[in-house]
C-alpha cells in the first residue's frame, strides 16, 4: 500500500528515478541473499574434502535479473496493472456467464472420460502410457486426496497437516492384507477405507479440545508418528525397504491383467500385449473414485451433517449454544475425510505395486493442503483446477527437453521441479489469496441462491 501511494505522488518523470532506485535496492538485496549460495558452490574433491567453486557469472545473472525485474515491475508493470484495474472497475460487471463457464464441470467430466482414448489416438497405444499414467492418474490421485481433505479443512474448518497418514494407512492396509491373506482389491478397498476412517477417529478423539495451530501441530505429529512407525516396525512393514510385489487389480474378477493368467484382458479381446490397458483401467478406476468423493461431498453438504460442519467452521460457539454436538461433528469430519484418504491410499498401492514410507512424508500433506487452499477452500472445481495446475505443471517439467537446448546439456529440469512448485505456491497465494475459485454457493438460502464472495465466508478456527 505504501508503495502505491508513493507512486501516485511521484507521477511522471520521477517515477523512472524511483524505479531505478528500487531496482538498485533489489539488486543489492539479492546480492546479499545469493552471494554465498549462488556465488560459491561446495563440492567434494578427489580426497573427499569440501572445496569451493566460484560461480561469479551466475551470481551476476541473478543480481541483474532481480534488479531489472524490480525496475520493470515498478516502472511499467505496476502502473499498467493499476490502470487496468481502474478500467475494469469503471466497466459494469457482466451479468451472464458464458456457456463454457456454466457447464465447466460437465465438460471437464466428459473430457476426462474421453482422455485415454484421445491419448491413444494421438500417441498410439504404447505412447499413451506416459500421458495416462504419469499425468492423468497422478493428477487424479491428488484431486481425490485434495477433495478428501477438503471435507476436513474446507467444510469442517479443521486444519489437518497430517492427512498423508490416512493415505499411508490405506496403502499399507491393501499392501499387507493382500499379501498375507490374498484378498482382492475389491474386498480391500472398502476395508482400507474403514480402517483409515477408524484411524481418523483415533486421531480425532485426543484433538477434540484443540484449536487452530495446536490442532495443526498435533495432526502433523500424528502423521510423522505413523511414518516413523512404518519405518521402524520392520517385522510387519519391512521398514524402509517397503512392501513390494503387491498384486494387480482385476476387472471385478472377470478379467485379469497378469500376463500369465488365463483370463488376461488382452488375450480375452485378442489385443496385442501392452501394459497400457492396465493403466487405462486404473485411470478409469481413480476417476470413478474421485467422482465418488465429489458426489459424496456434494450430497453431504446438503445433509444435516454437512450443514453442521459448515456451521462449525463459521462459528463453533454459536454451534454449541444451538445444541449441536461438536464432538460427533468433528469426529465424523475426521473419519469421513480419512476414509477417502484410505481409498486413495489403496489405489496408490495397487498402482505402484510397491509402498514404502518414503511416499508418505510431510511434504505430501503440505502439497495436498496447498491444493485445497489454492483451489479456494470448499470449492470442488477450484480444487481440481489447482491440482491440474500444480501437479500437472510440475509433471510437465519432466518433459521439457527443449530447455536443455537453451541452458545446455547438463540442465536437468526435474531438479527444479520442487523449487518451482514451492515458488508457485507463494506466487499463486499472493496473487489470489482466496484461491482459484473465490466464490461460494450457499447450501441454505432464502428464496434465491446467490453466489457470495469467498471473502465473506469465514475460515474455521477449530
Amino acid at each position: 500500500m505504501a508503495n502505491m501511494s508513493n507512486m501516485s505522488e511521484r507521477a511522471g518523470g520521477s517515477l523512472t528515478a524511483w524505479a531505478l532506485r528500487e531496482g538498485f535496492y533489489a539488486g543489492a538485496v539479492s546480492l546479499g541473499l545469493f552471494v554465498l549460495f549462488v556465488g560459491l558452490e561446495t563440492t567434494q574433491n578427489i580426497r573427499n574434502e569440501l572445496v569451493l567453486n566460484r560461480r561469479l557469472g551466475l551470481l551476476g545473472i541473478f543480481v541483474i535479473v532481480a534488479a531489472v525485474g524490480r525496475f520493470l515491475t515498478v516502472a511499467y508493470l505496476r502502473p499498467w496493472a493499476a490502470a487496468r484495474k481502474a478500467a475494469a472497475a469503471a466497466k459494469p460487471a457482466e451479468g451472464e456467464e458464458g456457456f463454457s463457464k456454466r457447464n465447466f464441470s460437465k465438460i471437464a467430466i466428459v473430457f476426462l472420460l474421453l482422455y485415454p482414448l484421445i491419448a491413444i489416438s494421438i500417441f498410439g497405444v504404447q505412447g499413451s502410457l506416459k500421458w495416462v499414467d504419469n499425468l492423468g492418474i497422478q493428477i487424479l490421485i491428488y484431486v481425490m486426496l485434495a477433495w478428501g481433505l477438503n471435507i476436513v479443512v474446507g467444510l469442517a474448518g479443521l486444519l489437518d497437516l497430517g492427512y498423508v497418514a490416512f493415505y499411508a494407512v490405506g496403502a499399507y492396509s491393501y499392501a499387507l492384507l493382500s499379501q498375507h491373506f490374498g484378498l482382492s482389491f475389491w474386498v480391500l478397498l472398502p476395508l482400507a477405507g474403514i480402517l483409515a476412517a477408524f484411524w481418523g477417529m483415533i486421531l480425532g478423539f485426543p484433538v477434540l479440545r484443540l484449536k487452530g495451530d495446536y490442532l495443526a501441530i498435533v495432526t502433523l505429529a500424528f502423521g510423522e508418528i505413523i511414518r516413523l512407525v512404518l519405518i521402524n516396525w520392520t517385522e510387519v512393514t519391512k521398514g524402509t525397504f517397503g512392501v513390494s510385489g503387491i498384486p494387480k487389480v482385476s476387472v471385478f474378477g472377470i478379467w485379469s491383467f497378469d500376463v500369465s493368467a488365463a483370463n488376461n484382458f488382452a488375450k480375452a479381446f485378442g489385443l496385442p500385449m501392452s501394459s497400457a490397458y492396465y493403466k487405462i483401467f486404473l485411470f478409469y478406476l481413480i476417476l470413478a473414485l474421485a467422482l465418488l468423493t465429489a458426489y459424496v461431498t456434494i450430497r453431504l453438504r446438503r445433509m444435516p451433517i454437512g450443514r453442521t460442519w459448515e456451521a462449525m467452521r463459521e462459528d463453533e460457539i454459536a454451534c454449541r449454544s444451538l445444541g449441536i454436538n461438536t464432538v460427533t461433528t468433528k469426529l465424523t469430519a475426521f473419519s469421513i475425510g480419512a476414509m477417502f484418504g484410505g481409498f486413495a491410499g489403496s489405489f496408490f498401492a495397487v498402482r505402484q505395486g510397491f509402498v514404502s514410507p518414503e511416499s508418505f512424508v510431510f511434504l505430501e500433506s503440505a502439497i495436498i493442503l496447498a491444493i485445497v487452499v489454492l483451489g479456494g477452500m470448499g470449492s470442488l472445481v477450484g480444487i481440481a483446477v489447482a491440482a491440474v495446475v500444480m501437479i500437472g505443471g510440475t509433471e510437465l517439467l519432466r518433459e521439457m527437453q527443449f530447455l536443455k537446448r537453451v541452458f545446455g546439456p547438463d540442465f536437468t529440469p526435474e531438479l527444479y521441479r520442487m523449487l518451482i512448485f514451492g515458488l508457485a505456491m507463494v506466487v499463486v497465494m499472493v496473487w489470489k489469496p482466496r484461491g482459484f475459485v473465490g466464490s461460494r454457493e450457499p447450501t441454505a438460502f432464502l428464496r434465491e441462491r446467490k453466489v457470495v464472495s469467498g471473502s465473506f465466508t469465514k475460515e474455521g478456527h477449530g
Binding site: T42, L50, L52, A221, Y416, V426, M429
Partner: protein, 300 residues
C-alpha cells in the same frame, strides 16, 4: 547415575539448539499469529552460510584462530539468514497480512519447499561434512563434557540474556510487545508496525542462524533437508511451552532435547521422535494451550 547426568548434559545441549529455533517460531506467532513454516529452513540456511564462510576463510587465511573463525562464521550466518527472513516476510507474508488465516501458512510452506530445494539445486544434494573445529573433552566427576557442548550452552545463555534484555528493557522490545497485544492500537500510538514485524523476523532468523551454526559444529555435517526435522521439533517445543510465550519456548526446547536424549539412552533410539511427538500430544490433551501459555478466553 553418571550415565544419567551424561545424558542430561547431552539433552541440554540439544535442547539449547531447539530453544533458539523455537524462539523464532514463538515470536513470529505471537506478533502476527502465523506459523512460519520456513523457519526451519532458515535454520538450515544459516548452517550452510556458516559452512561456506568456514570454507572461504580456511582457504584464504590459513591458521586463523578458532575463536575468530567461529565468530565470523556466526556473524555471516546471522547476516545471511536475517536478510533471507526479512526478504521472505516482505515478499511472501506481508501482502497476505489481513487475509484469511491459512493463506500465509501456505506461502510459508511454499517458501520452506523453495528454500530447501534452492539449496539442493545450488549446493548439491550430498551431505556436507566439516572437520571438527574444537575437539577437547573435559572430564568432570566422571562425566565427559566436550568443549563444543560448553560453547553451545554458554552461547545460548548469552543470547537468551541479550534477547530477554531487548524484549523487556528497550523501546524496540516495548514496541514488539505492544504490537503483539494489539496491532491496531499500537499503530495508532505511533509504532511503525511493519518495521516492528520486520525486526521480529530478523531477530528470529539471527537466533536460528546461530543455532544452525552450532548444529553444524555439533554434528559436523549438514545437508539441504536438515531444516525439516529440527524445525518441526523446535515448533513442537514452542507449542509445548505455550506458543507466544518466550520462556515457554526455552522451556519447551530444553524439554524436547531432554526427552529425546533420555529416551534414546534408556529405550530405543528408533522411536525417539515418536516419543517426542507422543509427549507433545499427551501434554496438549491435558493442557491445550501448552505449559506456560495462557488459555485464550473467547468472547462472543
Amino acid at each position: 547415575m553418571e550415565y544419567f547426568i551424561q545424558q542430561l548434559v547431552n539433552g541440554l545441549t540439544l535442547g539449547s539448539i531447539y530453544s533458539l529455533i523455537a524462539i523464532g517460531y514463538t515470536m513470529v506467532y505471537g506478533i502476527i499469529g502465523m506459523i512460519n513454516f520456513a523457519h526451519g529452513d532458515i535454520f538450515m540456511l544459516g548452517g550452510f552460510a556458516a559452512l561456506i564462510t568456514f570454507l572461504m576463510l580456511t582457504s584464504v587465511f590459513v591458521g586463523l584462530p578458532v575463536v575468530i573463525l567461529v565468530l565470523i562464521m556466526i556473524a555471516a550466518a546471522m547476516l545471511t539468514a536475517s536478510l533471507w527472513n526479512w526478504t521472505i516476510e516482505k515478499v511472501a507474508y506481508r501482502p497476505l497480512r489481513g487475509s484469511f488465516r491459512l493463506a500465509p501458512l501456505i506461502t510459508a510452506i511454499g517458501m520452506s519447499i523453495a528454500i530447501s530445494n534452492f539449496i539442493q539445486v545450488t549446493q548439491g544434494p550430498r551431505n556436507k561434512p566439516i572437520p571438527p573445529l574444537v575437539s577437547s573433552v573435559y572430564n568432570i566427576f566422571g562425566i565427559a563434557i566436550s568443549l563444543k557442548q560448553l560453547i553451545i550452552m554458554l552461547l545460548t545463555v548469552i543470547l537468551l540474556a541479550t534477547f530477554w534484555y531487548i524484549v523487556n528493557k528497550t523501546s524496540l522490545g516495548r514496541a514488539q510487545r505492544a504490537t503483539e497485544q494489539d496491532r491496531k492500537m499500537a499503530a495508532l500510538l505511533g509504532i511503525d508496525v511493519d518495521r516492528t514485524i520486520s525486526v521480529t523476523f530478523i531477530m528470529g532468523a539471527g537466533l536460528a542462524a546461530v543455532a544452525g551454526t552450532m548444529y553444524l559444529m555439533y554434528y559436523g555435517v549438514t545437508v539441504f533437508t536438515d531444516g525439516f526435522i529440527p524445525g518441526v521439533k523446535a515448533f513442537t517445543a514452542a507449542v509445548l511451552g505455550g506458543i507466544g510465550s518466550l520462556p515457554g519456548a526455552v522451556l519447551g526446547g530444553l524439554l524436547i532435547g531432554l526427552i529425546e536424549s533420555l529416551w534414546s539412552a534408556y529405550f530405543t533410539i528408533d522411536y525417539k521422535d515418536v516419543a517426542t511427538f507422543s509427549i507433545l500430544a499427551i501434554v496438549l490433551i491435558f493442557k491445550p494451550s501448552g505449559i506456560l501459555g495462557r488459555p485464550e478466553v473467547e468472547k462472543v
